[in-house]
Amino acid sequence: MTPEQESSAGDMEIVGAEVERGPDQMIVTQDVKKWFGGFHALKGISMTVRRGEVVVVMGPSGSGKSTLIRCVNRLERHDAGRIVVDGIELTDDIRNIERVRSEIGMVFQSFNLFPHLTVLDNVTLAPRNVRRWPKAKAEEKAMALLERVGIPEQAGKYPALLSGGQQQRVAIARALAMEPKIMLFDEPTSALDPEMIKEVLEVMEELARSGMTMIVVTHEVGFAKHAAHRVAFLDEGNLVEEAPPDTFFSNPQSDRTKLFLSQILI
């Protein structure tokens, strides 16, 4: 960990009634609620993520952790509460949504690469079409990113020819190509074979060290211990507990957290 990150680690902030935007508050959610039909997925989540902070979100399935980060880039519309990303509040205004989305990179559980485009085209597509970069610049950037995630030699292939771990690393490169300020990871290793998890986690840890603001939904305890500044625990749509990883794993406060940890830590 860098000294800068160490100082911010351990800080915990609970947002009050007013959303105040400090210079280093990247994501502020305030009393966010979400229903799917009759199912109450989020029951008022308030959380702040600072610039450069890495937050791991854990919780049993159906606890709302994916829904929470999908609300942050508006893949789901929150029904109540406020979400402010880098000073931009998410409303129904499509321009705000597109601005926020181009600042947030997202990595999905099932990769969701574009199967009809080569790896290189997957990575250059958004910079060329959204940022309007010329082809040469976008490709140069893309090759640098593929280098960074360790698979420059796969640039000309179609995604279907790559292993799961390679596909997920391409997905990370694709998200980074837009030069986002925030990266969201929705269970990035859950669909991977065990031997491929490590290569993806290594890329993510390198990204965390570089100072990227990240929210990571995952069950990878090792990643949480190594890279996270904070672990947030969700259960049944409530934010039950937030703590630095050391405290979270060694001295959980709530019973539900204890139960969950006893189940995943065997």
Binding site: L75, E98, R101, M106, L113, P115, H116, L125, M178
Partner: protein
């Protein structure tokens, strides 16, 4: 079978190139001699022996009868004498150069496209033999049918134009594809202008096979974008738009095409503003286009359903606008999946143009029926209709082969 094998080698070829490794292929048991092949495939058990013998007898009897009829008994004079009517109907002879010019334009473009696409023909021995036989048959038929030297020279010119386009296409880069697409789009109005403008021939006089082709091409190319829009509109969040699209699609699909044709023939003129007149053929273009768009819309809808939800989310997550998301991510995948159904629909649409025979429009089937009714060709109805059927079949079959090729080219390396 031969085709399966060709695909397999192609795929294996890709793998070898990509990985830089030799791929070990499971040993395949190949029959050593032709005699062994025959024993294994035709006479492996008493049942298969009986089947082979019976089927061979039936095929032999029918085949012999057919060949004898085609080459000996049939009176093809009816087709030969009416060849021009079959092809262009009552199009005036002194204006026929307009048709030839159009044919040349299309041939050059086709040759260019073929060249640019770098299509490789799989020249297996069996395919070569088949092509040689078909080519010889075709040439023989032409030799029998065509008498004038002029027509021969013109046909030779078509072949040369096609080959020249092919050679030129080979030399240009893949970047030329975009220009070719534009050229094809422009070719269509160009052909219409060639036929119609500058003292040309009014649509009432267009006829024969040319008319079937023009009608089908208009309907296909205009209905495709309309159909895509209808399919997208059907999924729209705006109730007015989606209701309109669903209403249109279900109305048009629920009515027999022939009913629509009659409506277009009899009723449409009454609905036009006073003083405005549309030629029958133009009205039929409208009918076929609307009919086809409803079907295209449903085919595209099927393709859209095949695109995974994650593709929408990934496209949105990188910041693409809805238009770009549809154009760059969703439609390319959806449309690729619809190729078989789409081509199949276009083939039936092309054949359905023969329904206009009932409106006394001189398209090819009508031309055939008229030829069969001529006094000097009485009794040649079979030959007259069969000739039209064969021409329809050749075009429909080529379309289906082209679609298979397209599927294979677009399918490589994906999913």
């Amino acid at each position: 079978m031969a085709q399966d094998r060709a695909i397999r080698t192609e795929l294996e070829g890709t793998v070898v190139i990509d990985e830089g490794l030799a791929v070990e292929v499971a040993p395949r048991k190949e029959p050593a001699t032709p005699a062994e092949w025959v024993r294994e495939n035709l006479f492996s058990s008493w049942f298969s022996t009986v089947l082979t013998v019976v089927l061979a007898a039936v095929i032999g009897y029918v085949g012999f009868g057919l060949i004898r009829w085609v080459f000996v008994a049939a009176e093809w004079q009816v087709f030969k004498a009416n060849l021009r009517v079959y092809m262009i109907g009552r199009f005036p002879l002194e204006e026929a150069w307009r048709v030839w010019a159009s044919v040349y334009l299309v041939s050059i473009l086709a040759g260019l496209s073929w060249g640019v696409s770098r299509a490789r023909l799989a020249w297996t021995r069996r395919k070569t033999a088949l092509r040689a036989v078909l080519g010889a048959l075709f040439l023989a038929a032409l030799t029998y049918l065509i008498e004038g030297v002029t027509v021969w020279i013109l046909l030779l010119g078509v072949a040369v134009a096609c080959a020249a386009g092919f050679a030129a296409g080979r030399r240009t880069g893949r970047g030329a594809l975009r220009w070719l697409a534009v050229a094809w789009l422009l070719a269509f109005p160009a052909v219409i202008l060639l036929l119609r403008a500058f003292g040309g021939v009014p649509p009432q006089l267009w006829g024969g096979f040319m008319l079937n082709v023009i009608l089908a091409v208009v309907a296909i190319f205009v209905s495709f974008p309309i159909g895509v829009l209808l399919a997208l509109g059907r999924r729209s969040n705006l109730p007015v738009i989606s209701a309109f699209c669903v209403g249109f699609i279900e109305l048009v699909r629920g009515v027999p095409l022939f009913t629509l044709i009659i409506l277009g023939f009899n009723i449409l003129p009454l609905l036009l503003p006073p003083g405005m007149q549309l030629a029958v053929i133009v009205r039929m273009m409208i009918v076929f286009t609307l009919f086809s768009s409803a079907y295209v819309a449903e085919i595209v809808r099927g393709g859209l359903q095949g695109v995974h939800q994650g593709q929408y989310e990934a496209a949105r997550a990188v910041g693409l606008s809805t238009t770009r998301m549809m154009g760059l991510i969703i439609l390319p995948q959806a449309l690729r999946n619809t190729i078989p159904a789409m081509i199949s629909h276009f083939i039936s649409l092309f054949k359905d143009t023969s329904l206009l025979t009932a409106l006394a429009i001189l398209e090819m089937l009508r031309a055939a029926r008229r030829a069969a009714g001529q006094l000097q060709h009485l009794g040649s109805t079979k030959e007259a209709l069969l000739a039209a059927a064969v021409i329809f079949w050749i075009v429909a079959f080529s379309m289906s082969r082209w679609s298979q090729r397209l599927e294979r080219r677009l399918g490589v390396g994906e999913r």
